[in-house]
Symmetry: C2
Subunit: 387 residues, 2 copies
């Protein structure tokens, strides 16, 4: 007779995480005491903790004065920690996640400078280098305190305020990584002025996304500030970044922060976007691909009878007015043949049953578990032809 | 005037972890339905999740029938998951953590067999390979479900039931790793029969440790079962493993599971043990070094006036009767000169102020924040000369 003659002991516990995302300007100017107050507030004993700084080369090219202002700032304003004088400048962008040299170098520096679990790694740059350095911080000594200073719109309103990090491996995006919250994030809007137009725009796709699934008021605010946003008005962008980050963080807190389940509401529009990025060999920005993915899913939602035509038009108009294009030539060439494959890959990625977010209205998402391919193909044709 | 003109958003959330440690015999015999019941209980949808198995070569040499019994078991008893037929056999022991080939191979297999976040990686072996495979599971896709099947005394009662994993890097022990609880642990006592005497004994050091800092009753139980334990009575060992695992898990649950603070109560006797392992170039077992470390700290506790002489004698007698030696020649040659350095390194490792555990009695630990070196040296001399 088959039986189960075992004993067992159950382990059950909770781990609490907390961190602040600060919104500021000129973080390293001597007048700004935000960062020094932060370090002071974290002081628990007499030991001086160390701070190792890693800077994105692409950012540094435009803001090279930080090579002086950072040491000056720590010298004048920060008593409670010790800055490692050697500031590390590394290439940013996707290459920093693709080859493992950058990651190796950061881990070596952690070893060389004796950065321990209670010391800080501070990374300044775009979402890619934040992901890579965050992953190094998460695994060295089983986790060093990470301070993120995101310098792109995307990283300030989305990637940099969350709990994930990663590098690419086996040519696969984000194959290695962890869930590891930072100890703090400092969003300094003054870094954004030097962004290429494409990066300025691309980051706004996540703001549209989060408004579509969470908050119609924010959507309407964007509708009425298109001109300021496209003309790079910094104060308007600060508000967009703040609102988007807030909604994003609210979601993480109240949801499933470490994604143990298989629902991924923040991935609205992303299943096709991921495929597009690959098809374009990453010559398209993430936000550009997400804009196309959201447009496709909005049209599909309309064709399925969930979403009203007037709301569909508002969505597509906002995206277009912000400068996004739905007919990127390279992509749309073989996009249609890849719809089915993209769905399949996304399902594999979820590792469970297919769960996609569609829209019932602006601010009102709807989970669906099956997709009608013929309807999706019609949505695709409409998207490409959309004027 | 210096001021702080920033806004901030706070993120605060909790993550809940739970897992069972099961105690059983002949896990893969067709009569034992424990494992099949486990997989059945985890089923959430129709998707068949995959299971990839990694086996410790050192274990396999003695239990090679598992190459047949595992596939048979899955075929006959387990409907809800799909076994990857290719069972991976890798060298175990510390080498599996030292060179990164093993880790690379496991991560490649995860990629090759399409193991996703909801699939399982099942590792069977000693604490070293459990640590290495656990680290691969923790970072691939930001975390795959890990099932540990520990096969040594140490891994069944201590390392395998906790939340840490790691590999060595830059020649430094556990330099890379994460905190990542398994989804389940299966302690199968039938694996223990093939252990070398040294490994059988060495694992008992952690049981003595946990009794000294947590539970006098358990200490006294060991005192009265020395003969069964040294003569390798399996039923007695099962009780030791169960009690030690239980106390260990209770501690993790009620303490600071991911070690955000700098107190490390489970490290009793370990500050010097770590140094000894290095001085001996790892020719000494972890438990053998821990036994010496505990003896040293017990004598220090006595010399400091915390611990009574009668209790000190009981501690040293139990350790000696279990077969531990305090005068390992290689180590004790230059151990004394290294006391101060060992303290310093342990403090660096904690990353904060020095916090060591000493004893006020059997089952009653006491935190101390300073060590008197001359007293420690006297303790050392007594230890080496102890008969
Ligand atoms: N961790 C997450 O949760 C998450 C979420 C979404 C996206 N991401 C990742 O974020 C990455 C994309 O981030 P991104 O959009 O910030 O791009 P990016 O980091 O690739 O940066 C784009 C370019 O801008 C440069 N740069 C950075 N700041 C600048 C500045 N202020 N002025 C001028 N140039 C500057 C960089 O050097 C780089 O060349 C991707 O790797 C993506 O996978 C992560
Ligand atoms: N993760 C943690 O919290 C934690 C805690 C303590 C120790 N550890 C780690 O555990 C490791 C030590 O583990 P260990 O003591 O189990 O030694 P081990 O894993 O090195 O195994 C010792 C030897 O026994 C062999 N072996 C395994 N099972 C066997 C069996 N049933 N019969 C015969 N041979 C068998 C192995 O192949 C190996 O050669 C160290 O790397 C240490 O750092 C981790
Ligand atoms: Zn995105
Ligand atoms: Zn130990």
């Amino acid at each position: 007779m088959k039986e189960n003659r075992s004993k067992n002991i159950r382990s059950e516990f909770q781990v609490t995480y907390e961190y602040d995302v600060f919104f500021t300007k000129e973080l390293f100017s001597l007048e700004n005491i935000l960062l020094s107050e932060f370090f002071q507030s974290k002081k628990t004993d007499k030991m001086k903790k160390k701070v190792l700084v890693v800077i994105d080369q692409g950012l540094f090219n435009f803001h090279n004065k930080i090579l002086e202002s950072i040491p000056q700032y720590f010298q004048s304003n920060v008593e409670s920690v010790q800055l490692i004088e050697d500031l590390i400048i590394l290439p940013g962008g996707e290459t920093s996640k693709n080859d493992s040299n950058g990651w190796e170098l950061v881990v070596s520096a952690i070893n060389q400078y004796g950065i321990d679990r209670h010391s800080y790694l501070m990374v300044i740059g775009g979402g890619a280098i934040l992901d890579m350095v965050g992953y190094a911080a998460a695994v060295a000594h089983r986790g060093i305190r990470l301070i993120r200073i995101p310098t792109t719109v995307l990283s300030q309103n989305d990637s940099g305020v969350g709990v994930k990090n990663s590098i690419n491996y086996f040519g696969k995006k984000n194959f290695l990584g962890t869930f590891a919250p930072p100890v703090a994030v400092f969003n300094d809007s003054s870094f954004l002025v030097s962004l290429e137009d494409r990066d300025w725009r691309s980051g706004m796709a996540e703001a549209v996304k989060v408004s579509l699934i969470k908050n119609k008021v924010f959507f309407e605010w964007m509708e009425s500030h298109v001109s300021e946003l496209t003309h790079r008005d910094l104060t308007t962008m600060e508000h967009l970044v703040y609102e988007c980050a807030r909604l994003h963080m609210e979601h993480i807190q109240n949801g499933d922060p470490f994604e143990f389940g298989s629902s991924r509401p923040l991935d609205f529009g992303h299943w096709f976007a991921h495929k597009l990025e690959y098809l374009a060999n990453f010559s398209i920005r993430h936000g550009e691909a997400v804009a196309i993915g959201m447009a496709l899913d909005s049209i599909y939602s309309y064709l399925s009878g969930f979403l009203q035509e007037s709301e569909l038009n508002r969505i597509l108009n906002l995206l277009r007015d912000l400068g996004f294009q739905f007919n990127h030539p390279v992509l749309l060439k073989n996009g249609k043949e890849n719809l089915e494959l993209a769905l399949k890959e996304f399902q594999e990625h979820l590792g469970g049953k297919l769960t996609l977010l569609m829209l019932e209205g602006i601010g009102f998402p709807k989970e669906v578990y099956t997709i009608h391919l013929s309807l999706l193909e019609s949505a695709y044709d409409r998207l490409v032809g959309w004027k």
